[in-house]
Amino acid sequence: MTTSDRFFSLRDIGIFFYLVPFRMAASVLPIGATRFLGLLMGYIYSALAYKRKRRIQQRLRTALGNSTTNDEIRELSRRCLLNAVACHVDALILNRIGTKELLGNGKVSGLEHFKNALLRGKGVLLVTGHFTGIKMVSRFLHESGYPHFGIVKRHADDPGASWIENRYLSQYWAKVIDRTGHAPVFVEDKDVGLRIMKRLRENGIVIIFIDVPFSQHLLTRPFLGAEQAFPVGFLRIVYATGAAVVPMVGIGNSSAFTICFEEAVNLREAAGKDEFVAKKNIDILVKILESQILREPSHWLLI
């Protein structure tokens, strides 16, 4: 976990409000009322978080280049914040929505790619980034009878967070929000490799988020106009097990979402595992992630 110079920040109040009174209200209020309150919160956050918005605009400018106008960048940054808040509000009501209603609100494309990859019988790694609809993906897979888990970090690693957020709020957040429903597997756990292997051996599914450098094995690659470290440990597992790698993106929330499975990636063969990882294979996946983000930049939560 990182430490911050700041003991406390205004963001801590917002997070506390979300985690305690708003979460309690969301458990008793009608779902529509919670969504409406969430929308209001989104507009308030969008108006107040000008520093965050400025950072997003800089990132978008670097990623999109000069072909995008300033007005478009401003609008995109506003939508980024609104979508992020909507995503967090949705996490509070998701378990109250019935399967039939929820799946009726979504569109799933490319399911044949996913099913074809499963037919190979060596398990599937769904490779994606932190998009707004990731909880919908998890719920969709669960309700459709596909055993899966995602690999996540136990602790938030936000250098901009205050000491209070890192020490208390992020852990409480993980406990009451992220760990409800379908329990993830933590990258810090010593048996993470065994659990991945076990799931793949059962021809199950493991979701890998490649937009955060959570692994001990990292490679820095060009990404959205800058340089970023990417986890590559999972490619060593692919090399060892022959599991299929299927890019996937899920965007939206429980009121309207889309999930898109892409064709399984034909990774380049190599004589050894190091070559397999380095021989453009991580570049192939980074390019796919880039194209997913550029299609829907306002739905990428880590912008």
Partner: protein, 99 residues
């Protein structure tokens, strides 16, 4: 195959698959596998595949547990048992075919 032979071959697999630059005698039976020579959780998966190839066995999903992959001793005992079980299954299959 004796238990010592199994252990020696597992150590050979570790060194080969994980590209370790160590002397086989440095590998002690009761040290935790995930702490050994900087081995991480991903390396364990490579070790599993290496062992399967070396001994021509298949480790079923239900056996991929921390208890079995705890240290070299537990892993050796497991592989020895697995070799025995698979040989028994093969002989039983042959007997049924002959009947």
């Amino acid at each position: 195959m004796s238990i010592e032979d199994v252990k020696d071959r597992i150590v050979e697999v570790m060194i080969r698959e994980l590209e370790l630059t160590i002397n086989p005698d440095d590998v002690h039976g009761t040290g935790r596998l995930d702490d050994m020579f900087g081995m991480d959780s991903i390396a364990i998966t490579e070790l599993i595949i290496g062992i399967e190839k070396e001994f021509n066995i298949k480790i079923p999903a239900e056996d991929l547990t921390v208890e079995i992959f705890q240290d070299l001793e537990t892993l050796t005992e497991y592989v020895k048992k697995r070799l025995h079980d698979e040989t028994t299954m093969y002989i039983e299959g042959q007997d049924k075919t002959q009947c």
